[in-house]
Amino acid sequence: AQSVTQPDIHITVSEGASLELRCNYSYGATPYLFWYVQSPGQGLQLLLKYFSGDTLVQGIKGFEAEFKRSQSSFNLRKPSVHWSDAAEYFCAVRPLEYGNKLVFGAGTILRVKS
């Protein structure tokens, strides 16, 4: 079935440690790819996006993501996590056959310990 998978429901990292959040998708053609962050009680904020071109994309707040076509993955990374990064992170794809609709992964809750 076509889907977006974020295999980690919760991740806890120490402040200053590196972070990688995983995202895999299963659509035939490479969709547009996004990462969003959501703080409690707030809307979603776009961190970064991939449409085409360079497979390593830079986003806001020091985040980056790498698109790997062979693995159908779009993992989010940050070299040094800050306590303010604690939030829920959603991977989203816009399959080319879906028009303007996004398909979201289930989300990963990031906890940062001091």
């Binding site: 809307g43 979603l44 816009r94 303007n100 609709k101 996004l102 989300g107």
Partner: protein
């Protein structure tokens, strides 16, 4: 700053009493979306407008309706709210590429 604004931030309504949530945008995006998000879940698309064209998701209950009187505004009407409709409702806008800008959401409580 160009943005998506949702009002109110918090809405309490009585069981069965119609309620309307509003969304406005200054981005001049042609697509507007309404999502329902329950605790610890991903946003669930209810419907979206591409310009004036309304697109309903197959599993969106008939209890949910929407209006888009112009490019800037979109409304979510819940005709007879049930306890199961308590959730965060998110409005979002985009151009054709699906890259969406979200509002801060309206937290709906049904009593």
């Amino acid at each position: 700053d160009a943005m998506v604004i949702q009002n109110p931030r918090y809405q309490v309504t009585q069981f069965g009493k119609p309620v309307t949530l509003s969304c406005s945008q200054t981005l001049n995006h042609n697509v507007m979306y309404w999502y329902q998000q329950k605790s610890s879940q991903a946003p669930k698309l209810l419907f979206h407008y591409y310009d004036k064209d309304f697109n309903n998701e197959a599993d969106t209950p008939d209890n949910f309706q929407s209006r888009r009187p112009n490019t800037s505004f979109c409304f979510l009407d819940i005709r007879s709210p049930g306890l199961g409709d308590a959730a965060m409702y998110l409005c979002a806008t985009s151009r054709d590429n699906g890259q969406s800008t979200f509002g801060s959401g309206t937290r709906l409580t049904v009593v």
